[in-house]
Subunit: 457 residues, 2 copies
């Protein structure tokens, strides 16, 4: 069987792109359609991301909107924006009609303001239009910004048989039925039910007799990251969203949460590497520069700070020129320790696994720094003694400085994220260049101060 | 309504822990049970993570295994290990009976080998036992290691009515019915069906007439990370797993994939920060040292390398002592640029968004480095001219070195992850201390070589 793993095996080859381009150039719509019909819309989106804009728009206009609406959702954001700019408001509205309300609202919110109104006015389905309008009012980083209006809702007074009949109607609109939400007459969420429960129940039973009262839900204003944590912690695949009066407004599904988690992880990773806004390898040099230069400038000012310190000590250092050779070692160690400490704290804060007092944590980092410091200092002393033939006092200086610097760097790396977190600032900004830079300066300053004490210049 | 957001509002307070401890000490089992009954098992696990081992074991033995088995799954891995050591093989087997096969196999695989056999021999349900044995044969990083045996399977020859009857029986074992998998007489996967489709169909129809032939699946030997990518790309909530003969073996659900993604993201983040094995803020100092010291040693050898370079240049540098002040600046800049470049490439490789030739990518990084380098050099030159009163030649040296170092660091940061990836090594190891260290040394060496060229010593 060669068809094994057809999904994993979709591979975006140059030949395939070429083939698509040839079919477009020869306007061979029939074969183009036939070729693309074989692929999943997520695969077609990958193909489109590789084509030039004109060809991508050609394909979007060629295929039916049931497929192209899903393709649009999967496109790279920059490319989607460009493609949409080449479609009329009416054409965009046709795509929107095919999408679930959450995806529809996401796409519309990416459009310039005046276009948003135009597109919405072209949506024919009045319910869909009203629902999208409602979703656009929520902040994108809240539960409201993530939820879809599509859900299956039943009243507690219905019978199982009546329920199944009505669900047949409602379910057509809902791609996947995770849970059936049970509401009372005031539309307030009172419980849930699975399709499985319905099928297992007797058809004359009342919903009120069989539904599960223990239902997890979130408020429409809850933070998206908190929703992600709740769904992950309780292994939920969908969660209903209610307003302040407990009225059922929508539901959030796990696939949206997966996207939130992924974005969050990528953002933290980039912050740790000293990259601000969300960029990709394929972005323009200008966008990449905007994301990278700010952190480089911070690092630069750190370097200038270090230069000032060294220049101030330089005159007295003439007798101990060897000390200058070890500046990079001190600096690199301080930076590395700081990043390690802060990364663990940042992750602990993200997972809510950091409890207990700040002082206790700092004391632990102190011990950890002491252990690591003694280990590193020991190795360095042996090397410096045999290879650099340093005097005992200079060796002592380097060793003492390493231990001190490692401890201080660990403490700074631990303290700063906790401090930022308490102030309501994302602690992830602390890892990376920020910690490295401050530790560089502290490390070098400490080094020379300790040298001054021990060598007495 | 004060009960708003009861989930998000679960908060692990010191009072709650205290209350639980008091109830345990006074052996007030009735009230303890009553108190814990109010909480979700994931919340109880959080409470247990805070208790001492004796108290945690007390609670595990007190509550019924339907709850405690789920609590065990949610415990921190270290704590779970300790708790299990305090349970008899028979007691563990009772917990295992309650779990889905995938969770059961995960827990058993964490036990020491001889205990594994003991525990399995105590499992009473023969089917469950055989399924767990099968799952234990798969590598934990493959689809087989992630899948559960619980699924709803129907034969294409059945009728809708017969199907619903049989599903009622099968579904009791399956917590959530995502999809119904359709197989032929040889148990080979031929398609899928949703409960919704079944409900909407007429009861006398044959499954063969209504099932969807287009089914995504993975092979049991596929890599777990690839499975995560497929499920994410195609927005799947469950995916069936087949063997090499296309026979249906099990299914993987999205919540397991969420865990895989989270672990992957945390691992990459820690690698970027110079932390090897998976550690948490709460781990022991010894475990944290093991994870952190190796990278610090690498950084240390980099520092020693830099010291060697500086020492070799020191004699000739007497006339240009100011150059030494700028070593930290050169070093920090080289490290920061390297980490930025490698982080973007590592992320691009993880998302499969890096296509095209290596040379083209390196050329882009070259341009990017040139732009950033000129910007940084410009600022530094102004500062060094006015504040450090450097001569024109020294200023020229620093400026030229900065631009060169930034370009080279960007190229190294781009090239190394791509190279590692082609060699089949996880490119994520390249970000962090590895790149920083090699760039430190290269940067300082380049700096002095350029100084030698311009200043002619």
């Amino acid at each position: 069987m060669i068809e094994e793993n057809e999904n994993i095996q979709f591979e975006l080859t140059d030949e395939l792109i070429k083939q698509v381009e040839v079919l477009i150039n020869s306007k061979n719509d029939k074969n183009l359609k036939k070729l693309l019909d074989e692929f999943h819309y997520a695969d077609i989106a990958e193909i489109l991301d590789e084509l030039n804009l004109e060809d991508a728009v050609y394909i979007i206009k060629l295929l039916d909107s049931e497929t192209t609406s899903e393709i649009l959702m999967e496109l790279d954001e920059d490319n989607r924006e460009k493609v949409l700019r080449n479609l009329s408001s009416k054409e965009i509205a046709e795509e929107i009609e095919e999408l679930d309300t959450d995806d529809a609202a996401d796409i519309i919110s990416e459009l310039p303001e005046e276009r948003q109104h135009e597109v919405i006015s072209h949506i024919e389905d009045e319910d869909h239009k009203a629902e999208i309008r409602e979703l656009l009012t929520y902040d994108e980083d809240t539960a409201g910004g993530l939820m879809a209006k599509e859900l299956v809702k039943v009243y507690e007074t219905w019978t199982v048989a009546g329920c199944l009949r009505r669900i047949r109607a409602q379910a057509k609109e809902v791609t996947r039925v995770h849970s059936i939400y049970v509401v009372n007459k005031q539309d307030k969420l009172v419980g849930r039910l699975s399709l499985k429960d319905l099928i297992v129940a007797k058809s004359e039973q009342k919903i009120a007799e069989i539904y599960i009262k223990d239902v997890d839900y979130v408020n429409v204003n809850d933070d998206a990251e908190d929703v992600a944590k709740v769904m992950q912690k309780y292994d939920l695949e969908a969660i209903p969203v209610v307003d302040n009066n407990q009225r059922l407004l929508g539901r959030i599904t796990i696939d949206d949460i997966v996207d939130v988690m992924k974005e969050e992880a990528e953002k933290d990773y980039q912050l740790a590497a000293g990259i601000t806004s969300d960029v990709e390898a394929d972005d323009s040099i200008w966008e990449l520069t905007k994301a990278r230069l700010p952190w480089l400038l911070i690092g630069m000012f750190g370097g200038i700070g270090a230069a000032t310190i060294i220049t101030n000590f330089q005159v007295v250092l003439q007798d101990y020129a060897i000390l200058l050779s070890f500046v990079p070692l001190i600096q690199a160690t301080a930076g590395n320790v700081g990043v390690q400490s802060s990364a663990i704290v940042v992750q602990g804060l993200a997972n809510d696994s950091i409890k207990g007092e700040v002082l206790k944590r700092l004391f632990k980092e102190f011990l950890l720094g002491l252990v690591n410091g003694i280990a590193i200092a020991f190795v360095v002393l042996i090397i410096s003694h045999f290879f650099f033939e340093t005097t005992y006092l200079v060796s002592l200086t380097i060793g003492a400085a390493l231990i001190t610097v490692i401890i201080i760097a660990a403490l700074i790396g631990t303290f700063i994220p906790i401090f930022l977190d308490k102030r309501g600032i994302d602690p992830a900004v602390a890892t990376g260049p920020f910690i490295t830079t401050s530790n560089d300066i502290f490390g070098i300053l400490l080094y020379f101060l300790i040298a001054k004490m021990i060598l007495g210049f």
